[in-house]
Symmetry: C2
Subunit: 138 residues, 2 copies
């Protein structure tokens, strides 16, 4: 596990530091997406707020994580299978937000159906977010 984390960081051209190790570990051990405040809580405020912000930004830039659009104002970050291994950013799967437990999940097996846009529109990325009740909360 330890070794795996360092390998992921290095292969993404990220320096290996305590904060990044810990935050990446959180993503790996968590089934769903994490918000900034989730991370602060789970690390017991061991790291400065700014460090967490900058770490997330670094992970984003390297394509390790991606953001999930939400209707409320919270940015959620998720580490998806594709991104961990390969460097390319390909996450055309559906995201699920549970209104009960609040967790955000990547439904890796549920792919986004292709849609027909009006004439003149060109799609670069399509996001699909489902709100509802998850498996565990039903």
């Amino acid at each position: 596990m330890e070794a795996q984390i360092d390998t992921i960081l290095k292969s993404n051209h990220l320096s290996v530091t305590g904060g990044r190790r810990k935050i990446l570990e959180l993503f790996l051990s968590n089934p769903g997406a994490l918000s900034h405040s989730d991370i602060e809580k789970k690390t017991e405020e061991k790291f400065d707020r700014v460090t967490v912000y900058r770490t997330l930004q670094a992970f984003l830039e390297k394509g390790l994580i991606h953001t999930i659009p939400t209707a409320d104002n919270s940015i959620r970050y998720a580490l998806c299978k594709d991104n961990c291994s390969a460097g390319h950013h390909q996450d055309n799967h559906v995201h699920f937000i549970c209104s009960q437990c609040g967790s955000t999940l990547c439904l890796d097996e549920t792919t986004i159906p292709s849609i027909r846009l009006p004439k003149g529109f060109v799609a670069a990325r399509v996001e699909m977010v489902v709100n509802g009740v998850c498996k565990n909360c039903k």
Copy 2:
């Protein structure tokens, strides 16, 4: 136009005030979605920030506008055809965010396809957001 605005407000059980008239007018004359800061700019800060927040909240509650999920941190509000006329909230259409001009549009004719969720998951609301280049910017 003036009369139309007042009618919409009244039929949604909203008091007719200067601020609400102006903000509703903005939504009607704008093709896409507006953020809070968009509104502040376009009204030239004529109204207090708090008033704008409360107006948007009131419009939301009455179903006049709805929010559009975005991956960045900005809440965008849009007034859609269905909501203006009828009171019921029905927006199962796709939203489009142009990476060029930044405008957010409701693709009213493009409906969200139904998907098959994994066992145990129950959907309450589905959102679909397309990022790309819009008709005008191509």
